[in-house]
Amino acid sequence: MKNQIINRIKSNKPENIDLPKIPNFGNNDSLLSFIEASKTSAATVVHIAENQSIEEVIQTHFSNHQRIVNTIPEIDIEGIETKNIAPRDIHPLDLAIVQGAFGVVENGAIWVDNQHLPHRVIPFIAEHLVIILDKRNIVGDMHDAYRRLETHSDSDFGVFIAGPSKTADIEQCLVIGAQGPRSLLVIIV
């Protein structure tokens, strides 16, 4: 089957044209613009103050959440252990706390990958998601983002997340919280 398809392509394919070069557009990579873009994607962004702790910020935003998965050892919030359970058994999950690798100014997206996730489903199955992002890890546009990934260690699964899950499938009315998280809190440290 494969050979038939490949051979047909070989005899039918058009002439080669060279791959274009992708220029460096030098798009703005300021933290302020990133925060603006995140808000457009309906995320809440908190830039942590000197005397504030991440734990405090999370607790003010989510005071009565029961089932939590905290994937960041440095954060002192107790969560459920997910090591030996099947992905589906993580449900119901009120809150997930995950590490973002870097954020993209042009669209507010944040790269999250499986190196920091005991289960890939965690950032999707939670009712609410918290992403921790280092303020030095901001890039301008998606070209910069993929250049950045070249130097980032290899991941089996990775995702750009821009805001909480959304849909506009009913009469084009925007609804925040479709099948994934109903809210996204980005904490910039």
């Binding site: 992708i22 998606m142 250049r147 990934l149 699964f157 821009a162 499938d169 099948q179």
Partner: protein, 453 residues
């Protein structure tokens, strides 16, 4: 029933036609706002188009490179000659694992292959999990748009449907309420699914990974919960390297819905530690199409739907009137290739205003191809079918060069210059009450002359 007849039924309900028209125009406007924020937009379109052209000229090599790298990642690769082969492969995987319940996220390819009825007839429950897809699945209808499958349905109708099937309150048509009801209903399905099927937006040869772009999170809920994940892709979805994702992730969502990027851009490279990952590569006529000098570039399409949202005919005739999996301008140049006789009316479902070409992020010459298909159809003698009332105008123009010249000139002029009230006197009855998109800058007339048409 041909497009004109179906469209006539659709536009008989003026209020509904206007509503549909406006809903799509709203999305087109959001797209304009989004692209105006990107200074290098036109350059990005050029680059995107060139990358795709390069890929099509080297498709065999890139497919083999993709396969090699995906296999090295521990992914199972399957090749399917056509829709039937694709369905059999998917069923085979499910059967081997004794899977009886699958969740599916949006995939135009599986629509093209008619996967759902095939699996259902083999005793497998297929749950569409994209909200719009789920709505039309409940209604037993095909999608009417490739990005917004339920764009033709009003919220009151969704309310009624959910009341009947999901037991929501009678008369409640609040989108928040209904979306939440669907969320709870689909959660139950995710938690018991054994297999998950998704489409593919981009497949990267260099890494062997597939990229899936979504907003709701349903595709990821399925793939990361189900032990078996299956990604189905047309063979034209290949791009050479990761760096090219930089270009396509910038143009896709902006063109589709006016978002800067989809909420989730998921890169699936290796299976979960305890799972299996399959990729089905489907030909279904694509490799044949590569040989068609005038038409092969339609394979560049990244299925953003922008050409539909801007098309005055699509907006006022509805996706179902096209009677082809992919409606709108792009569907009208893809369909004749699958069955020229059956779809011979579609290339005429256009004013040739050229707006589709203006918005297409990979710069497919859609209107030019519509015109070329008309010539093919004229030569093949299928023009007789075009005599239907609403097609008369375009068809007679086609036969009369002088008239065509006048008509296109008027179209172009009226699109650019005339206020709405004057535009209403044009022969384009579809465009009534419509604020028009900017007209194509390159004249069709000039092009027709150049190409000796």
């Amino acid at each position: 029933m041909n497009h004109a007849k179906k469209a006539e039924i659709f536009i008989a309900n003026t209020e509904r036609t206007d509503w549909h028209d406006q809903a799509l125009w709203f999305i087109r406007s959001k797209r304009d706002i989004a692209i105006n924020k990107v200074a290098e937009w036109e350059q990005l379109r050029d680059i995107a188009s060139q990358i795709k052209a390069h890929v099509l000229g080297n498709l065999d090599n890139y497919l083999l490179e993709f396969e090699k790298n995906a296999l090295a990642n521990g992914v199972h690769i399957h090749w399917a000659e056509d829709g039937e082969a694709h369905n059999k492969i998917v069923h085979g995987i499910l059967k081997k694992h004794k899977i009886t319940k699958v969740v599916k996220s949006k995939s135009m390819l599986t629509e093209e292959c008619h996967l759902n009825p095939y699996l259902e007839s083999n005793g497998i429950e297929v749950m569409d999990t994209d909200l719009g897809e789920r709505i039309i699945q409940m209604r037993n209808e095909p999608p009417s748009h490739i990005v917004l499958p339920a764009i033709h349905i009003k919220k009151e109708e969704v309310g009624e449907l959910f009341h009947e099937q999901l037991n929501t309150e009678k008369g409640n048509a609040d989108p928040d309420y209904l979306t939440n009801a669907a969320r709870l209903h689909l959660r139950e399905k995710f938690l018991v699914c054994e297999g998950a099927i998704t489409g593919v937006n981009f497949a990267v040869a260099e890494t062997g990974e597939v990229v899936v772009c979504t907003n709701e999170g349903n595709a990821d809920m399925g793939t990361h919960i189900a032990p078996i994940q299956i990604h189905c892709m047309g063979l034209e979805k290949i791009i050479p390297k990761r760096e090219h994702l930089g270009v396509f992730t910038r143009v896709l969502a902006r063109s589709a819905t006016g978002q800067a990027i989809t909420v989730y851009t998921s890169h699936h490279k290796k299976p979960k530690p305890t799972g299996e990952m399959h990729i089905v590569i489907v030909d279904n006529g694509r490799s044949e199409k590569l040989a068609q000098k005038d038409f092969y570039s339609s394979l560049k399409c990244i299925r953003c739907g922008a050409c539909m949202n801007t098309c005055p005919i699509y907006r006022r005739s509805g996706g179902h009137s096209y009677q082809f999996t992919i409606p709108g301008p792009i569907g009208s140049i893809l369909a004749p290739n699958t069955d020229l006789k059956k779809h011979s009316d579609l290339p005429f479902a256009s004013t040739l205003c050229g707006s589709c070409e203006d918005v297409c992020p990979v710069k497919i010459d859609i209107a030019h191809q519509l015109y070329k298909w008309r010539q093919v159809i004229g030569k093949e003698g299928h023009l007789g079918k075009m005599k239907e009332k609403s097609m008369k105008i375009t068809a007679s123009i086609l036969k009369n060069e002088k008239k065509f010249k006048f008509y296109t000139k008027m179209m172009r002029f009226s699109l650019r210059k005339l206020p709405k009230s004057m535009f209403n006197i044009s022969p384009n009855k579809w465009a009534k009450n419509r604020a028009m998109p900017p007209a194509a800058k390159e004249s069709f007339r000039e092009w027709v002359k150049k190409s000796g048409g």
